[in-house]
Amino acid sequence: MNRIVNNPDFVVEDMLKGFVKTHKDIVSTTEDARVLKYKNAPVEGKVGIVTGGGSGHKPAFIGYIGENLCDAVAVGEIFSSPTAKAFLDAIKEADSGKGVACLYGNYAGDNMNVKMAMRKAKKLGIEVKTVVANDDCASAPKTELEKRRGVAGEVLMWKVGGAKASMGGSLDEVIAVAQKAIDNTRSVGIGTAPCTIPAVGHPNFQIEDGTMEVGIGHHGEPGINVQPLKTADDIAEEMLDIIIPDLPFESGDEVVVLLSGLGATPVMEQYIVYNRVEEILTEKGIKVHRSYVGNYFTSLEMMGVTLTVMKLDDELKECIDMPANSVGLKQF
């Protein structure tokens, strides 16, 4: 095991300490050790944006705390939902009285903990509404959208929701646009090597060398199929063949593309895949308004990439183009 850690049971605690030391210009700690907040949160007169999830996805989730992004984040153990208390505390930290939009991903644990937190928030008189990201095409058929997992599309959901809140949107407006964002977003992942949770010490799933798992989830959830590893160009095509008909994206559409590495795949390779992604989209008459390439949503040192495409309208474009300042996404 080539992990650089101390006690593997306390990697999240140790990581948070280092994170806060490094980014005190953006984030601050709260009374709850499992909640970090934007240093200016709650922002007066603004709807609060909350998210949360298991650890191991750097820069997600805490890396998206910041200006025009998330106000507070609940932090779980590696690949495991934060507690209901952490979600509740994040909600409290984010609320300035205008309500809180909790924008998170569709996983059983997160769903239950958010529900518990919302019950308690209601008692405290805090209005909370949710958008549950379900952008992963590979996790369920189109007829069961509500079963689909949330993956890197969450970054775009936070970007859009965070921007709307900063523009002065009401809770309903923020929820509506974040929901629109995720409804117009499709993702798929390709895995080429597994990852190891420090406290476990061995990979909790396998991907044979020379093969790739199409549709893999952010925790190694199995995908659509396992194939011999293809070229970058063919991988780009394979991913778009899943994503494009699913929404569907059509000639004349304008889109945002987010191509993220899963952790250990060199960014060089991500640009190689992205190059072909943009070529194919262009061939199909789909215009790339903006693209993000890099490690935006990872799974420890898993290898592979995820591709996320979001169809824009004027409102979404305005939100995507708004400046933002966080650890994971800085945009002027």
């Binding site: 939902s81 507690t83 208390k85 059983a108 239950m112 476990v200 909790n204 199995p222």
Partner: protein
């Protein structure tokens, strides 16, 4: 006796903590077969934290259950935190105003716990989860009571149904949780959550019976 005192029944929570601590490794071993092998660790962590909070205090049943539920909700994330947190929290709320825990009160406690869990989880009987233990146990208790059985007999019925429900998970294909990704491969082994739920229900049942 047909009831026991809330004030005397803090021991039920003590026994729950001891049981989970004792079964820690077994629970993880079962989870390791089709899950990620941490169920015993997760449960032990939560119950032991609760033990620390209760240490040196006096508490009746509802207070003990409240602390247990809150601890799970506050300190254990994942799925177990909210599921068992809800279970114990609902049980506690259903008896917090009662001095005497009668069969009627107990029926409300276990019914409330099932409803609470179903409020946050879409899991159904047959999905291979703790509900395969919990729901038959609740139904057996309620049916026995409606059939006019006394409290002790109801508890026996509940315990027997819990064991049967637990064992039923062996032949099920997981439709929920981590194991669901294995499809057919999840058949043939017991479910970890159903196992911990079996220990929890039967510990409550046996300890309650001893208080009657």
């Amino acid at each position: 006796m047909s009831s026991f005192k809330n004030a005397d029944a803090g021991v039920i929570v003590d026994q729950l903590i001891k049981t989970i601590q004792k079964e820690r490794d077994y629970l993880s071993e079962i989870d390791g077969k089709i899950g990620d092998g941490d169920h015993g660790i997760n449960m032990n962590k939560g119950f032991t934290m609760c033990e620390k909070k209760l240490e040196g205090t006096t508490y009746n049943l509802s207070e003990g259950l409240t602390t247990l539920g809150e601890t799970l909700l506050e300190d254990i994330g994942g799925s177990m935190g909210p599921l068992y947190g809800m279970l114990f929290d609902e049980m506690a709320q259903a008896c917090e105003d009662e001095e005497e825990i009668t069969a009627d009160v107990f029926a409300e406690m276990i019914t409330a716990s099932v409803e609470g869990i179903q409020d946050i989880s879409p899991a159904q009987v047959g999905d291979k989860s703790l509900l395969d233990t919990l729901i038959p146990a609740k139904e057996a208790f309620v049916e026995a009571k409606e059939a006019g059985k006394d409290f002790a007999e109801c508890l026996d019925a509940m315990n027997a149904a819990a064991e049967k429900g637990w064992q039923s998970t062996k032949d099920l294909v997981a439709k929920i949780g981590r194991a669901s990704r294995l499809g057919e491969r999840s058949r043939g082994v017991l479910d970890a959550g159903a196992t911990s739920c079996y220990f929890i229900i039967t510990t409550i049942g046996s300890t309650a019976k001893s208080l009657l």
